[in-house]
Symmetry: C2
Amino acid sequence: MIQALLKIGEVAARAGVSVRTVDYYTGLGLISPAARSDGSFRLYDPAVIERIATIRQLESLGVGLDTITTALANPHHGDFAALIGRLDQDLRTLKATADTAAVDDFGLLVTAITRAHNLIAAALDIAASPLPGP
Amino acid sequence: MIQALLKIGEVAARAGVSVRTVDYYTGLGLISPAARSDGSFRLYDPAVIERIATIRQLESLGVGLDTITTALANPHHGDFAALIGRLDQDLRTLKATADTAAVDDFGLLVTAITRAHNLIAAALDIAASPLPGP
DNA sequence: TTGCTCCTCACGTCACGTGAGGTGGC
DNA sequence: TTGCTCCTCACGTCACGTGAGGTGGC
């Protein structure tokens, strides 16, 4: 299915950010125009709107733009299965911890785990909607 | 067991940060002196060294000082069991996702999940060494 | 003509410290 | 005296944009 390409103003409006921000992200290589018009206007695939949403979500969770840039530039680093195994182990340890009376300060613990959950939720969003290359 | 209290310079040296940083964290309420000397020197419990390490770790994972401050001020917010249940569900979904061929861009996914794992590891450190109140 | 876009340079803002500098205790 | 600490005000730095302003396409 062929989708119409979008000019920067349309991308910005749909993504809910300023034109300047789309321009800035483009400069960083976080997104790239799929083509240029005859008059050199940048033309974007509509999928960049989803990518911008993902970037904003990760940013709000404390992931810097440089980290995101690196991640996008190295699309296959790391071992996904091993990572899931580590999370599995984390969860078992957490469950064991929850059963002890040793924890008497839940503040930072809850904050850290909530942040981790939100990151995983963001990761699942990414997995559900694979992004085109930058 | 009674531990000798430490002056700010000793805390800084053991925590591997500057005196100024210890002073700054104290001003933010992230740590507090257990007592004051007769000459008004701040005297810290040695446990603040562990707390400083935790703060630095969370900071490096993108958790802001304001978030940490809030977490410390509300030591029992959130439902720990419910949180573990959500992580459990996240993990099941991730496993199901890993089995599909739908994921073709692992870059951000691996980055987000790695960050989540590191946050959980930090959380477990916190649980293993409960911190004194600020 | 009007509104959009390109590109670049410089400025703004916020988080997170860091330096300075005069002070008093050790 | 020397080195440490207190406290405050201002400055520095880095990430993340944002504004301006002259340009050309639509």
